[in-house]
Structures are given as structure tokens and as C-alpha cells.
């Protein structure tokens, strides 16, 4: 069952450079559609400037879309009344990249975790402590640390505390924005395992954003690949990873580092860099770097279309289809 659905969502920012204007529009997210099922994970991959974080902010309600709409449990977010919005905020929580920056250094762990509880519901005084201890137990932090401050914990422990805080208001969806990239290698696996256990235990849905493709592949049921604000490919994680269709997806996954020196694979090295989102190339945004670019790619932006159980925005496939 679908928990949240984004239909053709856009977020355009006005950009202004210099004193005399030279203004333009940055299409940070441009006509993006996806859905997250209950208890499942949607992974979002792409390079800096592709709109991953803006997508996360739209889902969290921190930004208002400039086009399209998001439906949560079947209800359009724009149509929600005050009570509905409060319910939504309680149901969608986030865990951020840097647990050194995301926990208030002047609050005790118990206060950090209790804060969303106190805001989203009015629990009885004795209840709060019990719930905080239960949440700490859930994320594997000993209960005796409830009265310590964040600086007394290591990075991995802090990220567990941040997860406990996200779970405090019993959310249905958790946005995970690079949740392990600030952590040490030996700690990452602990946190990824914890996130999977919590998903199974609590039936959570995740929006998982990360640079590390292997981590996204490991965590996700569905993967969305973004390039300059648009989705270039969307599909079931296993098949998308093993047989990418869009040339960008193909190049991105071939650029992922091997897991062993014996791993032999063909490497597609893209030339050039991601263009400025202020002046994206006409037609398909990827065409200047694409090894298969054709005439049509320079003129017309390809639409996301179904190709063998997957959605791909590429003229290579629309030509084959027509």
C-alpha cells in the first residue's frame, strides 16, 4: 500500500547573481514522481546538485513545491488543515548526515529524545522517561546514558540517538539523508543493520539518500536516479543495479568502486562535469556527457517512460518504442 506519493513535483528557486540581476531560475527539482510503499525503502542516488536534498526537504514539508503535489496516505498535503499538518509532521521524521551537528550540545540525551514526544502529544510526566528509555533500548544505547550530553558519545552512538529522536513521535516515514557517510567504516554496518531491523520491527518506510551506491543498493526496494533535478531512471533496486538502462545510471554504477581487486568490469568514464543547474543544457540535460547522444537528445527532453518494468527517461528507448 502506498504511503506517500509525489506526482510531477517541482521546486524552482529564483536565483540572482551580481548586483545587476542576471537572474534565472534554478529547477532544483523538476517534475519528479515517485511513491513509497509502507514498510519499504526508496533509495535516491545522484551527484551533488541533482536535487536529492531538495526532494528530501519537499517530503519533510520544509519546502513548498512550486508545481505538482504530494499525497500522504491518500490526502494532498496542500489540502490539509492544521490538525492534518500536525499529524503529517509527526508521521514524517528525519535523520541527518552529521550527528555532531544535528544534536544540540547543551541538551541531555533524554531531553533531545523527549522533545518531539512533548511536542507531538501530551504524555503523562512519568510516561516520558519510560518512553525515552524504551527508545534508547530500541536503538541499542544503554539506558544509563539518558542523562549524558551528546559530546560524551562516539559518532556511531550519536547517530543512534538521532535515530531514537526520529522514532520518538512514532513516524511512518523516516527520511535518511546520508545517515552513515560521516561514520567510520566499522560503524557503518552497525547503523545500516539497525535501520533494517527497525524497519522490520516497526514497519517503517524510508527515503534513503546516499552517495554510496552499494549502501543504497543494500537498503532499498526501489531506486530513483536523479540528474540535474530530473529522474532519469526509476525501478526495482535489484534489477536496476544489475542492469541499468539509462546511460547515466550505467556510468554512475560503473564508476562505483569495486568491492575486491579481482572484480573485473567495464568502466564507463564520463567526460566533463555536471553542468550548472542555472544553465542546464537544452534537451536531455545529460546529452553533453552522454556517449550515446543523438540529434533528438539536443532538441527535446525525453519523458520518463516505462521500459520493461522500469521507468527510463532516454531517447534510446523511446526511439525503440516508437
Amino acid at each position: 500500500m502506498t504511503l506517500i506519493e509525489a506526482a510531477d513535483v517541482s521546486k524552482h528557486f529564483r536565483a540572482r547573481r551580481g548586483i545587476f540581476g542576471d537572474s534565472g531560475v534554478v529547477r532544483a527539482v523538476d517534475g519528479v514522481s515517485f511513491a513509497i510503499e509502507r514498510g519499504q525503502t526508496l533509495g535516491v542516488v545522484g551527484e551533488s546538485g541533482c536535487g536529492k536534498t531538495t526532494t528530501a526537504k519537499l517530503v519533510l514539508g520544509l519546502e513548498e513545491p512550486t508545481g505538482g503535489g504530494i499525497r500522504f496516505e491518500g490526502r494532498d498535503l496542500r489540502a490539509l488543515d492544521a490538525a492534518g499538518r500536525q499529524h503529517y509532521r509527526k508521521s514524517v521524521q528525519a535523520v541527518f548526515q552529521d550527528p555532531y551537528a544535528s544534536l544540540n550540545p547543551r541538551m541531555r540525551v533524554s531531553a533531545i529524545i523527549a522533545e518531539p514526544l512533548l511536542i507531538s502529544e501530551q504524555p503523562a510526566a512519568g510516561d516520558v522517561r519510560k518512553r525515552v528509555l524504551h527508545l534508547l533500548d530500541l536503538v541499542g544505547v544503554p539506558g544509563r546514558s539518558a542523562d549524558l550530553f551528546p559530546h560524551e558519545f562516539s559518532g556511531g552512538q550519536r547517530q543512534r540517538i538521532a535515530i531514537a529522536r526520529a522514532l520518538a513521535s512514532s513516524p511512518k516515514l523516516v527520511v535518511l539523508d546520508e545517515p552513515v557517510s560521516a561514520l567510520d567504516v566499522s560503524i557503518r554496518a552497525q547503523i545500516l543493520n539497525l535501520l533494517r531491523d527497525l524497519q522490520a520491527q516497526l514497519g517503517l518506510s524510508y527515503l534513503f539518500i546516499a552517495h554510496d551506491l552499494a549502501a543504497v543498493a543494500h537498503m532499498s526496494h526501489t531506486i530513483v536516479v536523479m540528474y540535474l533535478g530530473k529522474i532519469v531512471e526509476r525501478g526495482e533496486a535489484g534489477t536496476l543495479v544489475s542492469a541499468p538502462k539509462h546511460p547515466y545510471t550505467e556510468a554512475l554504477f560503473s564508476a562505483a568502486l569495486p568491492s575486491s581487486p579481482d572484480e573485473q568490469r567495464e568502466e564507463i568514464v564520463l567526460t566533463g562535469e555536471v553542468p550548472s543547474p542555472l544553465r542546464p543544457p537544452p534537451g536531455c540535460h545529460f546529452h553533453p556527457r552522454c556517449p550515446h547522444a543523438m540529434d533528438a537528445c539536443r532538441r527535446q527532453a525525453p519523458a520518463l517512460a516505462g521500459v520493461g518494468g522500469r521507468f527510463v527517461a532516454c531517447h534510446l528507448y523511446s526511439a525503440a518504442a516508437s
Binding site: E47, G156, D184, S186, R196, H218, V241, S259, E273, V274
Partner: protein, 334 residues
């Protein structure tokens, strides 16, 4: 093994000592490694494992609080630890160069790219400005900077992150060093730009016969780029050897755990084999093997610090488990 390696660290230790001398952080402890000419060594470890201190020790760029307490540091047969500061200045940038993690922090925002790429050539070779600038133009071309002549007159803020990192690479190779030390050179780069940069480094290495030391926490970079691997844990090298052999058959439980804790594209559904606990505090190391508290195979003997064993040709491991069938190498002094 040739009798003389390009770089040979012999039982090297670097400690940070607090002002009163009461607190000692053993950042690098009894490290022995060798790098042959033209070879790539990957040094892998988590934060606080001592890998950056090791690099700074090689270049003698340590902060005041640090002391090299033991060992020898042989580069082309000369002990760098006995050199004067003036002599070291002729080594750095000329014979050994370093690339740092953040290209924005390693370029001066006030000077043009041309000034910065030409600087080491002028300093080390006494070349005139115009000649050094034309060399700088060639170097930018070598690191694939489009329209290098224009770029020479621009400043770092006018470049993208990938270009800045390539410029830092150009500065690194400007005086034809024998050894290039790269400390997490690609962590700030996007994936497709990282792939470009790593391939560029490999080409430069082949073209100039450079030896490379890659300092990273990313085993994928090691798998892609390196010939030799040294794994550091709590200031010590716990395992070293040829990359392929170490990946195929890791000896030290830490290496084994590290390799199996990484998610892979291919087996998606399995649970990751996580390492419990956390890396120890270098100022309060446990007695014996520092990994023992987290080690799944720890036993009584681990309370005693293990020496370096040689489980195979070119392989070394600091673990009692490697003792079976291997002869101990005098407590690390190999």
C-alpha cells in the same frame, strides 16, 4: 624484494605528548613498511588510526606536540629523520609531494592558478617566471584542464571541485617527485568525477614512474588503485601485503571484519557483518592487542601484544592467530 626500497619505514613511532607530558597519544607505533619505485601502497584505517600522522611523519610536517620516538625513515637510502629543516625543504615538493583531502583548503584563494602551479618549479629549480608559467600551462594540460592558458590567469574560486583537485595534482607532480602521498584525495568529489580523477592519477603514475601512497578509509579505492595494502588500527599496522592476496585471504580478524562489513551491490539481502564496539582511545589503549576487545576470535594470549608474524611471502600480520605456521619476526623489526 630489491635490497633498497624507495621508501622504507623501520619501526617508526610518533607520539603526541601533552604540554605537561602527562598524556601520551601513541598515534603511530612501531610501523614498518616499504614502498618500491613506481608502486602504489594503500594505507587503510578508520579515523584516529594514525594514517595521517604517518603521512605527516614521512614529510616531517608534524605539529610541535608530536615526537618521533623511534625508528628510521629511509627515502632513497637517506634517513629523513636526520635531515635539517633546510634539507627537508628541498625534499618536500621536489622528491616527495603530497595531495590533501580538501582542494579548496590547499589552494591559496588570493593567487592565480599559474602562480601556484609555477611556485614549486621556481622555488626548487630556480626557473624564471615566464619559463615556469609555460611549464605550468603544460602541467594543466597534463591533468586535463580545458583551455589551460586561460585557466592560468584565473583564481581557485572560478574552478569546480574536480578541477581544483586536478590542479592540486598538477602542483604535486610539477617537480617530478619520486613519491606522491595522497591523503583521502577524492572524498570531496562526486562519483563520476572521482572515477575521472583516479584514472588520471594512474596515468600520471605510469607516465612519470611515480610511487603513490594512498591514505584512505575506502577499501574500494584500494581495490581499484593499489598494489600493496597496509591496514592500520590504533596506530599500528595490523596487516600488510599485496592487495589481491589480502582481499582474498585476510589474516588479521580486523581486516577480515572490515572486508565483510562493506555492503556489496551483488548480495543485497544479507545482513552486514558489523564489527561491535568502537575504535579505542589512543591515549588509553588496552593492554595487549588493541583490537582484542572487539575481536570475535580473541583468546587468552591476546592480553599480550602480538609481534609481526609473516604468514606468507610479503605478508605480515600482527595477530597471534597468524603465529601458527609462521615464524615471528622479532617484534615488528623486519
Amino acid at each position: 624484494m630489491s635490497p633498497r626500497a624507495l621508501l622504507e619505514l623501520d619501526n617508526l613511532s610518533t607520539h603526541y605528548v601533552s604540554a605537561r607530558g602527562s598524556r601520551v597519544v601513541r598515534a603511530v607505533e612501531e610501523v614498518s613498511l616499504r614502498v618500491e619505485a613506481g608502486e602504489t601502497l594503500g594505507i587503510v584505517g578508520e579515523s584516529g588510526s594514525g594514517k595521517t600522522t604517518l603521512a605527516l611523519t614521512i614529510l616531517r610536517l608534524l605539529p610541535l606536540a608530536a615526537r618521533v620516538t623511534s625508528g628510521r625513515l629511509l627515502f632513497e637510502g637517506e634517513d629523513l629523520l636526520t635531515k635539517s629543516d633546510a634539507e627537508m625543504r628541498r625534499v618536500r615538493g621536489k622528491r616527495i609531494a603530497m595531495i590533501l583531502q580538501d582542494p579548496m583548503a590547499s589552494l591559496n584563494p588570493l593567487f592565480t592558478i599559474g602562480d601556484q602551479v609555477a611556485e614549486p618549479i621556481r622555488v626548487h629549480e630556480g626557473t624564471a617566471r615566464s619559463a615556469a608559467w609555460s611549464r605550468a600551462g603544460e602541467l594543466l594540460k597534463a591533468v586535463r584542464i580545458p583551455s589551460p592558458q586561460t585557466r592560468l590567469y584565473q583564481h581557485p574560486h572560478e574552478m569546480s571541485g574536480g578541477m581544483r583537485q586536478r590542479i592540486v595534482g598538477a602542483i604535486g607532480i610539477s617537480c617530478g617527485p619520486k613519491l606522491l602521498i595522497a591523503d583521502e584525495p577524492t572524498t570531496s568529489l562526486d562519483l563520476t568525477i572521482q572515477a575521472q580523477y583516479l584514472n588520471l592519477l594512474r596515468e600520471l603514475q605510469r607516465a612519470h614512474g611515480l610511487a603513490l601512497i594512498f591514505i584512505t578509509h575506502n577499501l574500494g579505492i584500494v581495490a581499484k588503485m593499489c598494489d600493496q595494502l597496509a591496514v592500520m588500527y590504533a596506530g599500528r599496522v595490523v596487516e600488510s601485503g599485496p592487495v589481491k592476496e589480502v582481499f582474498r585471504a585476510p589474516v588479521h580478524p580486523y581486516t577480515r571484519a572490515l572486508l565483510s562489513s562493506i555492503p556489496r551491490m551483488t548480495d543485497r539481502c544479507q545482513r552486514l557483518a558489523a564489527i561491535d564496539g568502537q575504535p579505542p582511545d589512543l591515549a588509553a589503549l588496552p593492554a595487549g592487542c588493541a583490537f582484542a576487545p572487539r575481536c570475535p576470535s580473541a583468546f587468552d594470549r591476546c592480553r599480550e601484544a602480538p609481534p609481526m608474524f609473516r604468514p606468507g611471502d610479503d605478508r605480515m600480520a600482527r595477530c597471534w592467530l597468524a603465529a601458527a605456521g609462521a615464524d615471528a619476526g622479532n617484534g615488528g623489526a623486519i
